[in-house]
Symmetry: C2
Subunit: 169 residues, 2 copies
Amino acid sequence: MEAMEAILGRRSIRKYTGEPVSDDQVKRLLEAAMAAPSAHNRQPWHYVVIRDKVTLLEIPKFHNYSKMLEQAALAIVVCGDLDLEAGTGFWVQDCAASTQNILLAAKATGLGAVWLGAYPNGGLVKGLKALLKLPEKIVPFCIISVGHPSEEKTPGNRYDEKRVHKNKW
Amino acid sequence: MEAMEAILGRRSIRKYTGEPVSDDQVKRLLEAAMAAPSAHNRQPWHYVVIRDKVTLLEIPKFHNYSKMLEQAALAIVVCGDLDLEAGTGFWVQDCAASTQNILLAAKATGLGAVWLGAYPNGGLVKGLKALLKLPEKIVPFCIISVGHPSEEKTPGNRYDEKRVHKNKW
């Protein structure tokens, strides 16, 4: 798929066929994830790939918008590593860029995915930290639900000229 | 360009030929920017496109890593709009996803770009806010320097198996 088609055509996909997603497919997503830029190239990220159904089904118990995980082939929890960044706070942006790469790689390789926010919501961070047994300095940033899409959506067409300013506000 | 090639091959490009970048090319970048996902689809973003040389040359006076702007065709300052988001703090991630889309669209369309962090660095936020005359609720998130590349870089190859965890930490 063309890059601009993936970028402009990506939508949040919450319905899945149930067809399995291979380890190779997941690896492509993670290669994309780690190709993201990061402040001072510190790459302050980790990824927990959840395929275990029991674990997946725990998440909707504390995350209100995650019911699609019941049908997902897997979830990827993107985590920030506070020991790997310099205390600047840029790790949040690094993890977001990495997440966006996963979503685009999913679109580009025929999968469907949706970004479920966690950090900076304290309750969601706490729930994920306990469920995944994350060490103290590892912060769960978001959950990405992944599967083979069983819904089709047209591109979002969100371009809005009013959001564009020339040289200053 | 193929989507995976753009994602895996994108690098920070800081050297430019000086060739102009057309308004149509900039519009493609902004279409990509606004195609990003955002929490509850609030799209809490604005973009200041700086082509004015005098304005561009002001930035390195307060931003240490922005000297490449002297050669750039333009810069895009991605801004968060605090009135458009619900006070959840997710605007930072939304702007980061939008920024990553711009970087990938630049790569895909033959341009070179680099992400220069601003928020949450107080001094950089203040400097940009004053320079661009941003309203109170508009926060400068980052600067993207854009031009026609005059350097070539091989893909970063940052994949690291140790960052991948199965089902839990």
